[in-house]
């Protein structure tokens, strides 16, 4: 067991991109091995889709076209659930000794978070595709052309990225994985207080004001407009603006917390 015969290996400086690639690979492996979480991220939105279409759908819209209304909402709900596990993944890393090792290496250690974000994006885009597929099976009839699909994909990707970074920041700020999970839960309520499942004009006026002025509603209205042809108006700009604003805020907050927590667990 005497290590004296080990050949000394010398390291070279590692680029930012190479570090990022290693951490993305690590997080993707984590995602694939956490089978329960992966199944949950895909099955839960599918169940919700079926629930809203077959159980609530008839009552909410007796004409039977509720599925066309609800698909964009389910997509966002799914993105929310799917990215929430990022908070736990990040908090788990931050409370484990491995983060100290990364921080004391001559690399851009913040990339460990970027890795989790990229893996979440991949997971959620897969889940979104499956949800859309199930939607088409249960009667969703999109009216979108190629450009509209492309636009919708762009908005969905931006939304997932924003939400994932928000959850990553929560994971960085929270002291433990359990706390991260708890705080993250609050964000998951936002889709219910929006135009995701019912039109906002059916709500009491005070709630209507909340629903119409929170970030989820413009995102949903934009996706709905692109996929089913409902009017979009200025909702697209609002959606992109909200997402970019929240994204920058989450990255700033997360990076600040990452630096501040060095040496503390």
């Amino acid at each position: 067991m005497n290590p004296s015969s080990l050949t000394p290996a010398s390291g070279r400086p590692v680029s930012f991109a190479a570090t990022g690639a290693v951490f993305i690979g690590r997080s993707l492996r984590h995602s694939l091995r956490n089978t329960e979480a992966l199944l949950m991220a895909i099955l839960l939105p599918v169940m919700l889709m079926l629930l809203f279409t077959y159980v609530f759908g008839g009552a909410l819209d007796p004409t039977g076209h509720y599925v066309n209304y609800v698909v964009p909402g389910i997509i966002l709900l799914c993105a929310g659930f799917g990215s929430s596990s990022t908070a736990v993944d990040v908090a788990t890393d931050m409370t484990n000794g491995i983060i100290d090792r990364f921080r004391t290496m001559p690399i851009a250690s913040m990339n460990v978070i970027t890795g989790h974000v990229a893996a979440s994006l991949a997971r959620n885009l897969l889940a979104t595709a499956i949800v859309l597929g199930v939607g088409l099976l249960v009667g969703f009839e999109p009216a979108a052309g190629f450009l509209e699909w492309l636009g919708a994909a762009g908005v969905i990707t931006l939304f997932i990225l924003t939400f994932t970074w928000l959850f990553a920041a929560i994971g960085l700020v929270a002291g433990t994985p359990a706390a991260a999970s708890g705080y993250g839960f609050a964000l998951l309520f936002l889709p219910y207080l929006s135009s995701a499942f019912v039109r906002t004009d059916t709500m009491p006026s005070w709630l209507q004001r909340v629903a119409e002025n929170q970030p989820i509603t413009p995102v949903i209205e934009t996706i709905r407009g692109l996929l089913t042809g409902t009017p979009i108006g200025d909702q697209a700009w609002l959606a992109v603006g909200w997402c970019l604003l929240l994204l920058v805020a989450a990255i700033t907050w997360g990076s600040w917390s990452f630096r501040r927590k060095a040496g503390r667990r």
Partner: protein, 294 residues
Amino acid sequence: MIPAIEIRGLRKSFGSQTVLRGIDLTVPAGTIFALLGPNGAGKTTLIHILSTLVAPDAGFARVAGHDVVSGRDGVKRSISLTGQFAAVDEVLTGEENLRMMGRLSGLTAAEARSRAAELLQRFGLTEAARKRVKTYSGGMRRRLDLAVSLVVRKPILFLDEPTTGMDAASRRTLWDMILGLAEEGVTVFLTTQYLEEADQLADRIAVIAGGTIAAEGTAEELKARIGEDVLELRDEKDKVFREIPTGGSIAEIRQRLDELARTVPAGTRVNLRRPTLDDVFMALTATHKEESAS
């Protein structure tokens, strides 16, 4: 030759709690240095400052000639840290952990793979290479942890309580590995709660208590200050009621026992044991008090 580690007047507080109250130390390159102290003495804080995780409040520390604050990147290029808790990825396998660290340290994919295989073999982990670390025993985890630290050769290795919680056999194996590294010229800075560990491994030992260095020197110099084996006197209920430091020679112990035989109550039993960390502290803090009183 510049020292591997140079610390002057280092102070650190967290809120109202002062952890380090002015530390001065010099560690020559290529030696094993042990920082000996109980829980809460400031050992981990000092390691965190030296490895750039935490910034000091006052004083300075240089590692491999780089200041730990202004020369952070230089320090990071020169060190490898094995923290108090196994810093390995539990979801990945042992092999994947080593390959990941190899890639992060600038090895090519092929170099990282062969280096991983080499280290797994040296550390007796080849059979467990493709198992997830989650299933490893404490000793296996610690061995992997050290292997990860050696993926690329850094001149200075920090080990924070490397053998805490290990069984005797694993501890002995790890000691041999640490001694082997020092033979190759690696500077090892380790913290420990065990006098025996410091004694076995270190060229020089510093005793830290209450955020200051209570004593520093070779194992022999420290032992000269605290004496040799300790006589323990136990009453009928087998409870220790007195501890007497001795010089360790037969003549002295015999003389002590003759005196004791006349004075201690009947039924007293006697036991001879090696000095522990507690004795070191007792002796050192006692001399501290005497020095400050005079």
